[in-house]
């Protein structure tokens, strides 16, 4: 067995892989949230739909996104495997248990499994439909000098080879863009209260997973220091377990109640 395999399959090495992939997924959460904040722009989805085209066509982003999907799957199934192995370390349980650890830290696998189910639903709601189904197109005409945007919903039968057709009219000073209306799909999907509830509850799972997960990843990396650990714990709780889930949960709530 090579030293790399030996290290990564040891109990600490297994956790190292969980920590590194987990922290990568945390950075993904930040980027995904910032991008999706464009849903809150009151422009008929102009910014968001253009962003969706960019995210699915720009080669570097495409590579990173497939790495991201692979790491999500790895993190999920490696985590379940470690949990299964850990269970074997106590074949006979206790009759009475008084826990002295946090409920979040003990249920990482449960929260993770909920999140895996959520991701399957989430990907088939938007990612799968955007890539594989016929979605209605929308045409935006932007007055370049004023930034004013007029929106025309194209006929359902309209389709185009490329993801985005962009034309300029020099005389009128306008830019015309035709793209798939993913914004419309999002907006329509979140009129379903059950889906809204499911998405909001899933964000609780994100929160509970990261209350423990973020700081635990640093502990696994050996990052424990009186100067920096309090900062890590605060970032984990306030940014990753509170701010980010609230930001995500605000989207379905916004479309259901306000939009």
């Amino acid at each position: 067995m090579s030293w790399i395999t030996k290290t990564l399959t040891s109990s600490i090495g297994k956790k190292l892989l969980m920590a590194l992939t987990g922290l990568f997924l945390c950075t993904f959460l930040v980027v995904h949230l910032i991008g999706n904040l464009q849903l809150f722009k009151n422009d008929g989805g102009y910014a968001f739909n253009n962003y969706a085209v960019f995210m699915t066509t720009f080669p570097l982003i495409k590579i990173v996104s497939y790495v991201n999907y692979a790491l999500i799957l790895f993190h999920a199934f490696w985590g379940l495997y470690i949990t299964y192995k850990n269970r074997q370390s106590r074949p006979i349980g206790y009759a009475v248990v008084r826990n002295s650890s946090s409920v979040f830290s003990r249920n990482m696998a449960v929260m993770g499994t909920i999140l895996l189910v959520y991701l399957v639903v989430h990907m088939s709601d938007f990612w799968y439909r955007y890539h594989n189904e016929h979605l209605p197109y929308v045409q935006y005409t932007e007055q370049v000098s004023t930034g004013q945007i007029s929106t025309t919903y194209l006929d359902d039968s309209y389709t185009q080879e490329v993801k985005k057709i962009e034309t300029f009219n020099e005389e009128a000073g306008t830019r015309t863009v035709i793209v798939k209306d993913l914004y419309g799909v999002v907006s329509y999907s979140f009129q379903n209260i059950l889906l809204v509830l499911f998405y909001v509850l899933a964000m609780f799972a994100v929160s509970f997973h990261l209350i423990h997960g973020f700081q635990s990843a640093f502990q696994t990396l050996g990052w424990s220091h009186p100067k920096y650990t309090p900062l890590v714990k605060n970032i984990g709780v306030w940014i990753f377990a509170i701010l980010i889930p609230i930001g995500y949960a605000a989207m379905p709530i916004y479309f259901y109640f306000i939009k």
């Binding site: 650890s101 946090s102 423990h212």
Partner: protein
């Protein structure tokens, strides 16, 4: 006081056990938990019944022999004490107390509440030592050690190897124990010659004994009678990962 007990009875490693009910009368609040068991065992012997087997030795909290899982907590409800230092004044008259052995695949039950903890000895034997030169002990002042480092090493060395961390951990992980034993030597100059090999070997031995992996729940440190800090686990992670990368061994 009258105390009702539900105690794990198991004939040997191969048989299956069960919780058995006992009642102990005339318990003094000043008795230690183990003395209450002594009274019960005397009574059982007088009644021609089999006494309950349990581990104990120094009865002053420094040997690490006593090992009872009391009402869902290793060493019972008090913080920072072993079972022998737990007194009956921590309980109320008429209380029912459930007493179980440490539960871990690495700690097979020998009989009743006695478990085999030699897995921990094998972890120590795999690297928890320093090379010692023969001859006269050198002058202590020849080895300058910072007070902060000495304090951290001493705090880690307070581990008595009782296995409460394993018993408390939902994964039956021995990380707190191993991290204390690695830390107490890695922090001091005397521990440097075997520093890398020690971290690698002790973790390998820990894994092969069947202890689980660490989930950083912190249950171990919360239940540790010597209040060993979780910082030691972070240090063990650093020592192990650092040694894996930098050691010459392929």
């Amino acid at each position: 006081m009258t105390i009702k007990l539900k105690v794990w009875k198991q004939k040997n490693a191969n048989s299956s056990g069960h919780l058995e009910n006992y009642t102990v009368d005339h318990v003094s609040p000043d008795m230690s938990f183990l003395e209450m068991f002594d009274v019960l065992n005397e009574q059982l012997v007088q009644d021609n019944k089999e006494p309950i087997a349990f581990d104990h030795d120094c009865r002053e909290g420094i040997c690490g022999m006593c090992s009872m899982y009391i009402n869902g907590q290793p060493h019972g409800p008090l913080k920072g004490v072993t079972t022998c230092q737990l007194h009956m004044r921590s309980f109320k008259d008429g209380d029912t107390i459930v007493v179980e052995p440490w539960r871990a695949s690495a700690f097979p039950v020998i009989k009743d509440l006695v478990v085999d903890r030699t897995a921990m000895d094998r972890v120590i034997a795999s690297g928890g030592f320093v090379s010692v030169n023969t001859g006269n002990a050198q002058d202590a002042n020849n080895l300058p050690i910072g007070k902060d480092k000495a304090d951290m090493a001493f705090a880690a060395a307070a581990c008595i190897g009782c296995g409460a961390c394993v018993a408390a951990c939902k994964n039956a992980s021995a990380m707190l124990f191993v991290s204390a034993k690695v830390s107490q030597l890695a922090l001091l100059p005397q521990g440097q010659p075997e520093r890398e090999v020690r971290a690698l070997n002790m973790v390998a031995q820990m894994d092969s004994e069947g202890f689980g992996a660490c989930t950083n729940t912190g249950a171990c440190a919360a239940e540790c009678p010597k209040e060993i800090s979780l910082d030691n686990i972070a240090r063990l992670n650093r020592e192990f990962l650092g040694a894996s990368i930098s050691s010459q061994e392929l």
